[in-house]
Symmetry: C2
Subunit: 198 residues, 2 copies
Amino acid sequence: MARTPAPGTRRRIMLVASRLFRDHGVRAVGMQQVIDETGLGKSLLYREFPSKDELVAAWLRESDEEWWRIAEDAIDRHTGDPVRRLFALVELTAESARSPGFHGCVFYNTSLEFRDDDHPGRREALAHLRRMRDRLRVLGMEAGAERPDDLADALMLVIGGLYVSAAALGPDGPARVAVSTAETLIREHCPVPAAAGA
Amino acid sequence: MARTPAPGTRRRIMLVASRLFRDHGVRAVGMQQVIDETGLGKSLLYREFPSKDELVAAWLRESDEEWWRIAEDAIDRHTGDPVRRLFALVELTAESARSPGFHGCVFYNTSLEFRDDDHPGRREALAHLRRMRDRLRVLGMEAGAERPDDLADALMLVIGGLYVSAAALGPDGPARVAVSTAETLIREHCPVPAAAGA
DNA sequence: CTGGTCCGGGACCGACCGGTCCAAAAAGCG
DNA sequence: CGCTTTTTGGACCGGTCGGTCCCGGACCAG
């Protein structure tokens, strides 16, 4: 008998593919390149992922899961302060955009690379973006925003703008005011809880 | 002798290339496709544009020029009202993002497709984005913003977010609050000119 | 008509694309 | 050891990429 169909294989592929897709974009990376950099065989990759499209989709699915693991953790560090919980999500994106070789949000980027709604990668990307929007809306509601939908969408704009402008013009571009801009918008949308005095 | 090296040729190529690149992205469009849809010969295209990279760069250069023609015109429709002049630029981008097959800002998109700083297309794209930032800063200054740089960058975020989110989630996504968000930010940054009374 | 210019577009180039197949090597097991 | 299973990685498939070359026809001036 045989077993051990190599447990770490899938993770190894995903690690390499993730780095390549993130740094260079999906269309700019060939499957041969992924294979070469994993050191694995071609058949092994195509057994794990039946096609490039599926690899892309799986990559975004895992990226989404990882994002929410990190994000919910960051949010949970501010239990009891609903405004800061909302704010944490913006801070997290701003922080990620400050990393050296940053080239934008993989979800936005992939949705732009594949404009056919049937593409599995695009579908995963859009699903993530909708989840972001929803999460912001709920957090905005809990923060007491008068119009949580509007606040969530406004923050989505700031976050999206932060991503693309940091990718294009770097962290010293418009991205530098992202956090303070979000702060302004949150304050505008949330009635002051009469902090200490009034 | 000979002449008439076909005067409208360049424009015809540019028209087709522009539509294809805008709608499908640069990497998704082959030169053969451009040639086929122009109805022109292969040799003619490569005489006018020595390579695809140069065609892309020329496309963005012309798109930039066209943008500023339209934008300055929109701005000039509000002479004497510096706040509305600033606002006009945001309204214009919001309007363009509402067109049916909208797939984002060609400058942001192309800069994301080509991440090598030596790529001529990327260079043109980034140059345009810097011009946007500068123009917003000057308009912000003229509108009496306390910190024109910060206002310009905040508006860049809103505009960038508007583009990507409209491309991904459509005009009913976060893009719908772009104009009102920009309004909020402009008001926040510009000391009220004591409208009528005070 | 003749001579010359311009142009459409197919042949072709080497390279790479995503993907399939398979032979040989490697690794696990008794 | 030998047997089985896994794995490697190259050969190969048809197709497309950007780009070059060039043939034949259209066009025009004389």
